[in-house]
């Protein structure tokens, strides 16, 4: 699908920052204290790195993050088991098993990453919402906007909440009379995953009440993610319509079409 990108990409530097940092640290420790301590250090780093994917899996039930956790755990096990084996080749122990586990989980993670199954989808939702909007002009308003109504039952809502959360589209907040979907935009996920953020007031959200009324709130910070000043009223309406369309597809059991729509944008799977 050819389309004009309307959101800004975050810096590529962030993606490479952690691997470059880890390699630099490994080489420094290896040159100062040898490969044994460097591998132990690397193992500890990978162990800590595995915490966040596990929390993500715990919160979203996205099995891809479990695979990522397993990969990082296998790397940790390989790293901490390798130094004795380097000294004495008879002490290989379970290293071959760990290596097999590491390579299998690496393949799974690579497959999932390239298929955008580990990608937070908020930016893709923004792109789809912005797609039909041509008018521009600074018309931002820091208040929610009602965008329409769609009939929905509680069961359909539960199904939709599970879909949105599991596929990394949004974080759901359940209230007495409605559910609020906070869009999983790049850089916004960590506080929600760690449970540091208990409310959604300062983020971009779409609320659907149990009568089916949809309202949209886009923050100024997120509005600035767009390359141009898109007509704010149309943008909010379009976002509401998009979520309404997603909900309709979910009600009909056609969730895969939602994912296909987002994948068709072909945004960078690593960002």
């Amino acid at each position: 699908m050819f389309f004009e990108r309307k959101t800004k990409d975050s810096s590529m530097l962030k993606i490479f920052l952690i691997p470059i940092g880890v390699i630099a640290l490994f080489l420094t420790v290896a040159s100062l204290a040898g490969f044994g301590p460097a591998l132990y250090m690397l193992g500890v780093i990978y162990f800590f790195l595995s915490v966040m994917p596990f929390i993500t899996f715990w919160r979203t039930r996205n099995a891809g993050f479990l695979a990522l956790t397993l990969f990082l755990i296998f790397v940790f096990l390989v790293c901490v088991s390798a130094p004795p084996a380097i000294k004495d080749k008879s002490q290989t122990g379970l290293i071959p098993l760990f290596l097999v586990g590491m390579y299998i989980s690496l393949m799974v993670v690579a497959y999932l990453t390239f298929n955008r199954k580990l990608r937070w989808r908020g930016q893709e939702i923004f792109e789809l919402a912005a797609l039909p909007i041509e008018d521009i002009g600074n018309s931002f308003s820091a208040r929610p906007r009602p965008t329409g109504q769609i009939p929905i039952s509680k069961t359909e809502m539960i199904r939709f909440v599970d879909f949105m959360t599991k596929n990394l589209l949004a974080f759901a907040f359940r209230e007495d009379n409605r559910v609020i979907f906070v869009l999983a935009l790049p850089g916004k996920e960590t506080p929600y995953l760690l449970g540091l953020k208990k409310d959604y007031l300062e983020d971009t959200w779409v609320a659907i009440d149990f009568d089916g009324n949809i309202s949209v709130n886009i923050t100024e910070e997120d509005y600035l993610r767009f390359k141009m000043d898109l007509d704010f009223d149309q943008l909010c309406q379009s976002l509401g319509d998009l979520i309404s369309e997603f909900l309709e597809l979910s009600k009909n059991g056609q969730e895969s079409q939602i994912i296909d729509k987002m994948n068709a944008l072909r945004l960078n799977p690593f960002m």
């Binding site: 600074n138 018309s139 308003s141 009602p146 009440d209 309202s215 009223d233």
Partner: protein, 197 residues
């Protein structure tokens, strides 16, 4: 009776010494401020102010008296029956039907913040900031439920403006609430939050 006169009369009647003062005025042919003050154990200035207020309300008549000493005023009751009647319907918005046809929308860069109500489908209040730096002042307006629903459906800046009546219909606000809706619209127009096209 207009509101201002009623307010002045109400202020006079609410004085704790008012009843005793009127008893004096009814039973005396005329009385001076010093005589009333000494009789009611009040400060002479208090009695003077009270009598002047009643004179302005045309309840008593003030007459200047010249005796051997310096001239002074004596007061005579001229209106022994007071009717306090206020027609509050005077405050009703003029021509609400026509006012409802005004095309409105939110004004751009308005320095206002809308607080969402617990129900999530309306606003509970609007806060407007005026001025800059130390002079910056906050003006909070609590909204009634119909007003909150109305403002929740107010078109965004630069969006297609809608008539007040259409917004009310979209928000599910009954026409009976048109006067209070117009009141908040007028206030927010004055504060630069809403614009009329």
């Amino acid at each position: 009776m207009d509101f201002l006169t009623a307010a002045k009369l109400g202020a006079c009647l609410s004085k704790e010494y008012a009843e005793d003062f009127f008893k004096l005025l009814v039973n005396y042919q005329d009385i001076s401020a010093s005589e009333a003050a000494s009789r009611l154990n009040l400060h002479i200035q208090t009695a003077q102010d009270f009598l002047d207020a009643l004179t302005n309300l045309e309840i008593v008549k003030k007459t200047e008296v010249f005796e051997k000493k310096r001239p002074y005023f004596r007061f005579t009751l001229i209106k022994p029956k007071i009717n306090l009647e206020l027609d509050l319907t005077e405050f009703e918005k003029d021509n609400p039907g026509e006012g409802l046809t005004r095309l409105v929308r939110e004004k751009n860069d308005n320095d206002a913040n809308f607080s969402v109500a617990r129900s999530g489908d309306s606003f509970s209040g609007v806060t407007i900031w005026k001025g800059t730096g130390r002079e910056r002042k906050e003006h909070k307006i609590s909204l009634t439920t119909p007003q909150g629903k109305f403002l929740f459906h107010l078109p965004f800046p630069k969006a297609r403006a809608m008539t007040i009546a259409d917004i009310m219909e979209k928000a599910g606000v009954e026409p009976d609430y048109s006067t209070e809706i117009q009141d908040i619209v007028d206030e927010l127009i004055r504060l630069g939050v809403i614009e009329v096209l």
